[in-house]
Symmetry: C2
Subunit: 459 residues, 2 copies
C-alpha cells in the first residue's frame, strides 16, 4: 500500500465519525425490529401482575419478575432500591345509581379515583350539581355546593392534534376537583373520565387532597355514563345519585425500584438513566401505562449487550415504583442518588404509551439543548421528526431537584393513548411488537449518541 493512499484512508476514516455512528444506530434499529424479547416479557408482566398498584401483591410480583429478568442478563449490577409507598386499596366494586322519579333508576359505570375516601358500607345519596370547571364551582360557592355530589362534566377538547393537550386541559377536574368541592361542603365528587374515547369504561387516576384530611369520596364515571347523567339532569334537575365506594388507605408499605446497569468503560461514575414505571392502576394490565416503558428500558441493556456496545458511562435501567399515586419511587431514586454522591449525566423516560415513536421532548437549555437537537438527523429514516423542548418524565424529574442535568422523554403517537389510559382497556392486546421495539431502539440510539457527545457536562 502506498503511503499517501494509506494516509488518505486514515483521513477519510477520521472525517467520518458520523457515518460510523449512523451505522451503530441502524444496527440498533435492526436488532430491535426483529426482536420478540421485550414483547414476550411484557406479555408475561401483563398476564401475571395485572393491577400492580403500589403496595399490592401484584406490584411485589412485578418487582420480583423484572429483577429476575435482569439477573438473567449478565449485567454488571442488578439491585432493588427501597421505597416507602402509599397503600390505597380500592375495596369492593364501586356502585353509582342515578335515581329519578321522572326517568327511573340507571346504573353508571364508575371507578374510585386514587386516594378517594370511602362512602361507608351503606353508600350515600345526594342531589347532583353539574359544573364544567373548577372556576364555575368556586363562583357558585358554598351555598350551592353544600350537601351535594359535584359532577364535573367537561369533556376532553378533541380539537388538539396532540391528545396530551386535550388531556391537560381537562385533568384539573380529576386532580383538584374533589378537593375544591370538599372545601365547599360537597359530600362527594363524580368526575367525567379524562379520555378521548366515548366508551363505557371509566378511567381512574389520582386525586389530591390537603394534608388537613378533608377527604371525600371521589369517583370517575365513564364518558357514556357522564353523557347519560348530563342528559338526565336536563330532564330532571332534582334527581339524586347513590354512590357506594369502600376504598380506603392502609399504612404505608415497603416496595422497591428495580435497577440494572451496565458499567461505563471511561466514566463509570457518570450515570445515564433510562426508565419507566412498574406500578399500574389496579383496574388494568398496565400494558401501555407503563409496563411497556419498563420492558423497553430493560431491552436497551439487552441491545447494548448483544451488539457489544460498551458505553463510556454507566447505563442504568430503572423500573420506578409508584408513579401513579405519590411518585415516591422517583423521589426515592433522586434522594438516594444525591445521598450516594452519584453523578448524573442524562436521564430519559418512556411513559407516553407504547405507540410509534415520533421524537423526543428535551428538557435542557442553551448549549445542551442545541447538542441534543443536533442528534435529530440520525433518526430521519425512522420517522422521528419531533425534537422539541419540553418536559421529560414524572419519575426522572426529581433528579433535577439536585442535578443541573439534561433529560428527555420519548414522544410517541398520541392518538390512541387516552382511549385506554388508566382504564381496563389498557391491555397487552393493544400493544404492537414493532411499535414497542421502535421505542426501545429510539432510546438506545439516543443514549448511544449522547454518550459520545461528551458535551452535556455532569454535576
Amino acid at each position: 500500500m502506498q503511503r499517501s493512499y494509506f494516509f488518505t484512508l486514515i483521513l477519510i476514516w477520521l472525517a467520518k465519525p458520523a457515518f460510523s455512528q449512523q451505522a451503530v444506530v441502524d444496527a440498533i434499529y435492526s436488532n430491535a425490529l426483529k426482536s420478540v424479547v421485550a414483547y414476550e416479557q411484557l406479555s408475561v408482566l401483563c398476564a401475571t401482575t395485572e393491577g400492580r398498584i403500589a403496595g399490592s401483591p401484584q406490584a411485589a410480583a412485578a418487582v420480583e419478575y423484572t429483577k429476575q429478568l435482569m439477573e438473567q442478563m449478565d449485567l454488571d449490577s442488578v439491585y432493588l432500591q427501597e421505597v416507602i409507598v402509599p397503600n390505597w386499596k380500592r375495596g369492593e366494586p364501586e356502585q353509582a345509581r342515578l335515581i329519578s322519579r321522572v326517568l327511573g333508576n340507571q346504573e353508571l359505570s364508575v371507578t374510585a379515583l386514587g386516594l378517594s375516601a370511602g362512602t361507608g358500607p351503606q353508600g350515600l345519596i345526594a342531589p347532583v350539581l353539574e359544573v364544567q370547571s373548577l372556576e364555575e364551582l368556586e363562583q357558585l360557592g358554598e351555598a350551592a355546593v353544600k350537601g351535594k355530589i359535584v359532577f364535573f362534566n367537561r369533556a376532553v377538547n378533541q380539537d388538539h392534534y396532540n391528545t396530551f393537550q386535550g388531556y391537560s386541559g381537562a385533568v384539573d377536574q380529576r386532580v383538584r376537583g374533589p378537593l375544591t368541592a370538599a372545601k365547599l361542603g360537597a359530600v362527594a365528587a363524580l368526575v367525567r373520565s379524562v379520555t378521548t374515547a366515548s366508551h363505557d369504561y371509566p378511567h381512574t387516576g389520582v386525586t389530591r387532597f390537603d394534608a388537613d384530611g378533608r377527604n371525600i369520596p371521589a369517583l370517575a364515571v365513564s364518558p357514556q355514563g357522564a353523557d347519560l347523567l348530563g342528559q338526565a339532569l336536563k330532564t330532571d334537575p332534582d334527581l339524586s345519585l347513590y354512590l357506594r365506594n369502600t376504598s380506603h388507605r392502609l399504612p404505608d408499605a415497603v416496595s422497591y425500584n428495580v435497577i440494572g446497569e451496565i458499567r461505563g468503560t471511561d466514566y463509570p461514575d457518570q450515570i445515564i438513566t433510562v426508565g419507566g414505571h412498574l406500578d399500574a392502576w389496579d383496574n388494568s394490565q398496565g400494558a401501555h401505562d407503563n409496563g411497556g416503558g419498563c420492558v423497553q428500558s430493560i431491552d436497551v441493556l439487552r441491545i447494548f449487550h448483544e451488539l457489544n456496545i460498551q458505553p463510556k458511562r454507566t447505563v442504568r435501567a430503572v423500573m420506578f415504583m409508584d408513579e401513579e399515586i405519590m411518585q415516591t419511587g422517583g423521589n426515592a431514586y433522586a434522594d438516594s442518588a444525591t445521598a450516594a454522591g452519584e453523578k448524573h449525566y442524562f436521564a430519559i423516560e418512556s411513559d407516553r404509551g407504547v405507540f410509534t415513536p415520533r421524537g423526543f421532548s428535551i428538557d435542557a437549555e442553551g448549549e445542551r439543548l442545541e447538542a441534543l437537537l443536533s442528534i435529530k438527523p440520525y433518526f430521519e429514516a425512522y420517522g422521528m421528526h419531533e425534537f422539541v423542548k419540553g418536559g421529560s418524565g414524572v419519575d426522572i424529574r426529581p433528579l433535577k431537584n439536585y442535578y443541573d442535568m439534561a433529560q428527555a422523554g420519548l414522544l410517541t403517537d398520541s392518538q390512541r393513548y387516552f382511549d385506554l389510559h388508566h382504564a381496563a382497556s389498557d391491555t397487552f392486546e393493544k400493544i404492537n411488537r414493532r411499535e414497542l421495539n421502535l421505542g426501545t431502539a429510539a432510546m438506545a440510539a439516543f443514549i448511544y449518541l449522547i454518550d459520545h457527545l461528551d458535551t452535556l457536562g455532569t454535576e
Copy 2:
C-alpha cells in the same frame, strides 16, 4: 379611519393569503377531529357488508349503502358507474393437513389466494418442496418441482422501518410464485402469508396466472403454520401435504364504482378525485383495507359542505370497485373519464391503512412536484412530515394512462398495517376514530390547498 392606515391594512391582508389558508386548514382539522360521522358509517359498512369482494352480494350492498349515504348529503351529483368485475368464489373452508410418519398429522391455517384454482372436492396429496424465492425455484428446475406442492417460505424482512418495504420484498412469492411453480409442473402452491405478524391468521391476496390457463391451487398459510411446516420439513423431508380448496371462477359480473361530487365554482370541468376502494377480501370486514378510505373520501365532501368551502374545481369522491382482484374499477373510471372528454386536475387515494397520517406520497415531476411539496408547512402542526416523491394509489393510477396529471397517496403510520392486511383480523375494532378523521382532514386540506395553487395545469 385614516387613509394611509386603511391602505396599510389592505396591504397586510394581501400579503397574508397563507395565513387565511392556514385558518381554513385548521378549521378542517377541527371539524374532523370532533366528528363521529365517518366512524359510524364505517362501523355500519363493516358490520353489514363484511367480505364484500367484487361480485359478491355484500359488494352490491356496499354500493347501495355508500350511494345512499351520499344521496343524503345534498351533493351536486351522485351516480353509479358500471364496472364488469371478475367473479371469483372461495367455496368451502379450505383445508391443509401435514401428513408425516415421523410427526403425525397436523392441521394448518390456510386460505385460498384470489384467482386460485380448486383442488376438486377430493383434495390432493403431494410431497412438499420448500423454497425461499422464485429464483431458487427456477434454479431447481422442472425435475425437482414436478408433482410437488411448492412451499414459498420467505418471511417479510422486519428490518425496514416502513413495512411497505418489507411487504414489497416478499409479495412476489404470492403474486408470481404459483404461476412460476405451475410452469415447472407443481400441482399446487402454498405461500407463507405476507405479514409482519406471527399469529395464526392466514393472509390472502391475489395471485396472477397467464392467459393460457395454467392455473393451480394456490393457498396462503398463516405465519405460525409456515413456521410449523418449515420445522417439520427439517425433521421429515418426506412428509406430504393434503390440500383441499373448492374456490372457482364464475362468469364476470356487473358491479359499480360509486361517485358523488361537489361542482366547482370556477372550473367545474376540471376534476379533483379523492377515493378509496369499496371491495374488500371475502375473509375480512375490510375496515382498514379499505372501508376507511371510502368513508374518508365521502367525509371530505361533508367537511367542504359544513365549512362552506366552495371548491373552484369539481371535487369527486369515488368508491372504486374491485381493487383487490383485477382493478377493473380503476380502469373503468379512467376509460370513462377519457371517453367523456373530462379534464383531470388531480387525484388522491387513501389505501394504506387507516392509521395516523404521516404525509403524502406525491406522483409528479418538476414544477408540479415542487408546487405540491410547497404545501408541506401547512401540515407541520399535524404531524405530517413526510412529503415524498412516490406512487399514488392503485385505483387512480390508470388515469395516468390518459392524463399528464399530478397524483398523491395518503401516507399513514405503517407499523400495524401488515398485521391485518387481507386477513380476518382487519376488523372495525382496529380503527381509531381520531386516526380515521386525521386522514380525512389531511386529504380535505390538501385538496383545498391545491385547488388554490392553480399551477398544476390540466390536460
